[in-house]
Symmetry: C2
Subunit: 814 residues, 2 copies
């Protein structure tokens, strides 16, 4: 069952009924001002930090679902009847409803009794505000007398405090109104130099800023007394709950239409020049008036919209494909890079599942995320790499998270997630391959953000590897620490207190529990590092790291191979996890993926065996499960993984993030059909037709899909902010389509399904546009590459001479 | 305007319309299981700790107001019409509505189309559960076919995590159903040994445990699809949002009535015996069945209700008065001690204004609170005293808060609120006077909860005083530290960052800023300590402390007197705060109250002057403001006080907590009329007729009433959990009615209004019932006391011989 359709031409998903299984959201904003917006205009906005600078209130997990947002009410004054053109909050029976989620904007349109309304929500580039562009048209034969009421509820900036500290914050709310603009200035009188503004292009019939006045006593957003009566109360908020509501009257003749613009924005003043007149508590508005009047002009709004489209089109043009599979095309060309960029901007902070109050940027998360957007914004990726590296500790370990506002490591969560430092090697190597900019290795970067500790980034990478090498367990495999990539495998925790965090509680010394996953990742990182050394012409140094890689390879083959698949880990007692010896959790996906990706066991035939085991034991029609059988009970020596009911989250769900590792491994061993099949199973577009099962957005990857042991098998959760986006992009583009950046140039070696006749792609790489045409001429995986019609030796396309900006590649697969 | 009336006979406040200005709440539970319940059945329940063991969800500051609670729906099946007998959540137009908030119980009753429904909510003594006792009666002439649906929404235990960590907790929800009982067992599989149960005395037509199934897509509590359709879906919650809903069908003949009992409870199993059968994940229910079946029997419910009434009546009988003023009577006899007990149990954790997630018990708060319930539960007070003292630091300072579950000091908030340790002296002295139990002074108590640091409680008191004595500033007045009683006077903070806490950020060394309030409090505490020394016959030791008191007295007279009133403090630059020299904040209430209470300046006539200044500069018809003029802007050297808009909170509101200090001071200088006038101005019962202005409950004190500079002058906020309760009780009983415990026995010296002809009181003191009759025979304040009709010398009533359990006192005032 579908709730809408893809409009690939316009790069939009069009939702055609408002009652989607869950709110299907989109993001507004690409720079500093962000918002999440659902298909019925629910959601909230913030400036940079969803916890500390939240502009509007949103009640998570509320009843009714997704109640509260960017609302307009239309009232037909004669009939005293009103409705919301976005369905919520009145949930009136609209005659037509469409929500178009586009790249950085959302358009919701509807008909109600022949009144057409369309609202386009955008955040323009370069300014810290959002625009609601309302077009309203009378399709009746008679004139109609309408009132429009806007309404947003202000958050008192700090989202946690706002929702908990009522004995203070019921007293602090303050508002100013000037020239029809509502200014929210709570705490501006004290330590804040920022305020919010809510403006309207039309002259006002009235306004409200105190929630209770607008809603009336014990009323909800669905029937505010002010809208019901058609009369604003012109209220000023003193404490309690400040809102912003404009009231506009208009008469529309038959076929007449009108546009009204609303602007909600954030503005900072110079701290010493906050007030005007000086000595009063009134906001100095001189600095904000220009931006308000700019966007109340429809011409500028159209310009802003064009710029925004241009921004996204330029990004998406960097990599574009045309394959026989429409789901591949629309994910690779539109939605997957879009999600990658959102993940870059927001990390794990704000979505329908992330409440915006966790402020950390994950060390592992962000280094991984970068792989998926490195080709889009390498300069921004470089900054992020340097920020992350500066939170590395002198031990080589890393803070698991850092705070985006201060860029300092988060002490509460701390360090000792032992895979963390390796991901820095992978992100730097991805940056180097994409850009060729070796200078980054010489950038001086602090440790633990301490001045005086600066060392070249290159040394940070050495420290990362040394950290793992120094921490090997009884089987010469890496110690797991608090957890590896699987945050819920807490082998040193032994927590029996529900008021503890699994990750930060540590009762055991951790000198025994080892991770085969980290072992694979270590080899992969060593191989990348050795390539970096070669780029630096430091060939002598490679010897040591080659030796480390060989030793680790031996350790995996000796202690990490279970006969049919790779072992997952050794626990605190030295017992295997993810082995046929276990009763539950016999096989895990992670080491099968990453060991093969690291090249371990390919020669020995272990890779094929492991992948067969994945197929027979973990794969389902909805994707590949993380482990099987799931843990039926809590095991204190395993930690959080066994705290979940079977089939959910790390305990045997289809944890989508790790599925692409198997796709890559399948591609590496030449199984194009299998790789693409796995790709399709969790491709949200391919799952669109089972939206009533999948439930999350069909245009965006979710972190997990409930596994076969769950009662809701196939149900997705935690869409948007997940490493799933990056890894699926890497799997399909770099490995299945086989187009990947290398030090030597772009490399092409597709491992595609046998049924495909070929595909076309364009890739902009180091300033050159590669127009690629792939044709399958046989059933194998052997690619012969032609550059400008001349066959080359191998699959590395040498960079063209400096002035050449476009080259044509054709590939024959036989 | 009133929204109800006092039923003094039944010790109830009866609310007669559901749309009170704010939700008017009550508390269920006196021991370990607690709930807050509004007049329309909103609220939530928890076991011991409102943050970590929350049973049901509540959305604070929600829209509509107070949406979510302990709900029943009644559906007339023939007409397919349904309503809530508690008004919320359907808000149907009830023909009659009454909510009776009693002591530890609430009864909500209503009529809708001649169907009468009454629900009594109680938490029985001795068990961890709440009972909803529904009586339903058909007043029609025809039989009626009804369905009853219950509904509560479970919280996943940790209230913070529950409202923020959705990527985990949308996966963890688990339920069992057995014999019609709904068991909520989220995380029981892992580290929890507790679960919730929701049972019903009737056989079920159906049930629901998944919120979405019950409500339907995008619906609210006001129109669940299950209730609308009359058909439960028998859903099991797997993740998402577990609820409990029973469905009962019944046919009522004309005049027939029926009772249905619902029980919501908390139960802990032995951790090793949690599952039954062993090896499964099923709850061992053997241990809980008895308590469920006990309370599904109406006879036991009636017994429980009788016990509860008995419990409260016994407490309230300890002190009972009959004065010419009804507001005095009902507050002293019923509501004020009730509020004192709630404040004892809940500290500042859970109310309509306290979101239940701050877990600390305040050192100052609790020591102060104790003054108001010392006569009610001295044994429990003793335990609290010893808990508090054990969080004192070896320096004499104290953690500002401690965690009720661990009883350890809260490191996040820390110490250095420099008045804190003095309140321990006052609470111990109150305990000694009430009980005569000097042994408490010899109790060995740790410092900072560290084993091996035990010292007698007496030494803790010495440390407290020494701490102040060792921390004097340039004017020989006590240094203020982070703040004194006025948590918002942060003279060493200098915070310019809105993401900091005013209290825990400290940029200045704090060697200059001094508090005249602490100076007064220090003298008061020294005087109490000297009395303790005398009780211990340690007369030699008194000299030192007398000297300290005299020195401090001199310092106040020299540097703390401003000419017409007492100075409030000296800031970090050595400038005065609360002086005629200041432009704003010229006069503060606190030092006027506490200096006079400590006896400072009475001889010199300063007390009279200061009280005149209070009257002319701070008093309003709604009570006495904290300071005047309020600060018009933020002053970085003053801190949080100046962060509030003028007239709110510490910045010039009527901060009710400090008003009784002025009442006491007025009584001490003999102004009975003025004292009782001030008492009446903030007496909630006396303010009942202006409920539309006051807005908070008319039976309970609020922390603050907006001051004259506020836009909402007279509006109360933060009712229930405030030191206001204790201090008003002390002011009226100990000082205006003048009946107070002393070492020598009960002391009687009323300072009552001239218009009063007298009053009667009974006071149980050290096991003896004092029946007191006071008669005014003249216009003065001179009390002549008769014991069993014989005049005694002075006002101390000597304890009667051991076997005498009741004595009769009469007092003539002339």
């Amino acid at each position: 069952m579908k709730y809408g359709y893809f409009d690939d031409e316009n790069k939009e998903y069009v939702i055609t009924r408002p009652d989607t299984p869950l709110p299907w959201i989109n993001y507004l904003g690409c720079e500093s001002y962000f918002g999440i917006i659902s298909n019925t205009a629910g959601g909230y906005s913030f400036y940079k930090d969803a916890r500390l600078r939240r502009l509007t209130r949103y009640r998570y997990n509320n009843v009714p679902t997704d109640f509260g947002g960017r609302y307009l009410y239309i009232r037909e004054n004669k009939k005293k009847e009103f409705w919301s053109p976005t369905w919520q909050p009145t949930r009136s029976k609209l005659e037509q409803y469409k929500c178009r989620h586009g790249l950085g904007y959302t358009i919701i349109s509807s008909f109600y009794k022949k009144i057409e309304a369309k609202i386009r929500y955008i955040v323009p580039l370069g300014d810290n505000l959002e625009i609601w562009q309302l077009s309203i048209k009378n399709h009746r034969k008679n004139p109609v007398d309408l009132s429009i009421f806007s309404c947003i509820e202000f958050c008192l900036w700090n989202a946690i405090d706002d929702s908990t500290n009522f004995q203070r914050n019921f007293n602090t709310g303050e508002i100013e109104i000037e020239d029809g603009v509502i200014y929210h200035k709570t705490e501006y009188r004290e330590r804040r130099n920022h305020f919010a503004f809510f403006a309207c292009s039309d002259s006002l019939e009235g306004f409200d800023t105190q929630r209770e006045n607008f809603l009336g006593s014990y009323r909800g957003w669905e029937n505010p007394i002010v809208v019901e009566s058609g009369q604003s109360s012109n209220s000023y908020a003193f404490g309690w709950s400040p809102i912003g509501s404009h009231h506009i009257n208009l008469i529309l003749n038959p076929n007449e239409s009108k546009q009204i613009i609303f602007i909600l924005g954030y503005h900072e003043n110079n701290i010493d020049n906050r007030f005007d007149p000086i000595g009063t508590q009134k906001i100095n508005k001189k600095t904000v008036k220009e931006v308000i009047s700019k966007y109340l002009n429809p011409i500028n709004v159209e310009k802003a919209f064009a710029s925004l489209n241009n921004y996204w089109n330029n990004l998406l043009n960097i990599f574009h494909v045309n394959t026989p599979d429409i789901h591949t095309n629309r994910m690779v060309n539109i939605w997957n890079p879009y999600q990658n960029m959102i993940t870059f901007k927001l990390s794990r902070s704000a979505s329908f599942f992330e409440s915006g109050i966790s402020r950390g940027i994950g060390f592992r998360d962000s280094n991984q995320d970068m792989l998926g957007f490195m080709h889009l914004v390498p300069i921004e990726a470089k900054k992020r790499i340097l920020d992350l590296a500066a939170t590395q500790l002198i031990t080589g370990g890393a803070y698991h998270q850092y705070q985006p506002l201060t860029k300092k490591g988060n002490h509460d969560i701390g360090s000792e997630f032992n895979d963390d430092p390796l991901w820095l090697v992978l992100s730097v190597s991805a940056y180097l391959k994409e850009t060729g900019d070796l200078n980054i290795l010489d950038e001086l970067v602090q440790f633990n953000n301490e001045p005086g500790t600066e060392q070249p980034l290159f040394n940070h990478l050495q420290c990362s590897l040394q950290y793992i090498h120094d921490r090997l367990g009884p089987h010469d495999l890496p110690l797991i620490g608090r957890a590896d990539w699987n945050d819920c495998l807490n082998l040193n925790c032994f927590s029996d207190n529900p008021d503890q965090s699994f990750q930060t509680t540590k009762n055991k010394e951790g000198k025994v529990a080892e991770s085969v996953f980290i072992a694979g990742l270590f080899i992969a990182a060593l191989k990348e590092f050795i390539k970096i050394l070669k780029q630096k012409n430091s060939l002598d140094e490679t010897k040591l790291y080659l030796e480390w890689a060989e030793n680790m390879n031996s350790a995996i083959l000796k202690y990490g191979w279970d006969g049919e698949w790779f072992v997952r880990a050794y626990d605190n007692f030295g017992n295997k996890i993810g082995s046929h010896e276990c009763e539950e959790g016999q096989i895990f996906i992670e080491p099968q993926g990453y060991c093969i990706m690291a090249g371990v066991g390919i020669e020995e035939g272990f890779a094929e065996k492991a992948l067969n085991s994945v197929k027979s034991k973990l794969a389902t029609p909805h994707g590949i499960m993380l482990c099987q059988p799931p843990y039926s009970q809590y095991y204190i020596h395993l930690g959080e993984i066994s705290s979940y009911p079977p089939g959910y989250k790390e305990n045997g769900s289809i944890f989508c993030h790790s599925n692409p590792w198997i796709m890559i491994a399948e591609a590496m061993v030449g199984h194009g059909d299998q790789a693409h099949d796995y790709y399709t199973r969790i491709n949200p577009s391919a799952r669109e037709t089972i939206s009533e099962v999948h439930r999350c957005e069909p245009y965006i990857y979710a972190q997990m899909i409930a596994g076969k042991d769950a009662s809701t098998f196939g149900e997705a959760k935690n869409s948007w902010l997940t490493g799933t986006a990056t890894w699926n992009f890497i799997a399909i583009t770099n490995w299945i389509l086989g187009i990947r950046p290398t030090y030597k140039g772009l490399y092409i070696s597709p491992i595609i399904p046998k049924s495909w006749s070929g595909f076309q792609a364009t890739r902009i790489f180091r300033g050159v546009k590669y127009s690629i045409s792939v044709e399958r001429v046989g059933k194998g995986n052997n690619s012969i590459v032609y550059v400008n019609n001349k066959q080359i030796d191998g699959n590395f396309i040498p960079p063209p001479p400096p002035k050449i900006k476009e080259i044509f590649i054709s590939v024959k697969i036989n």
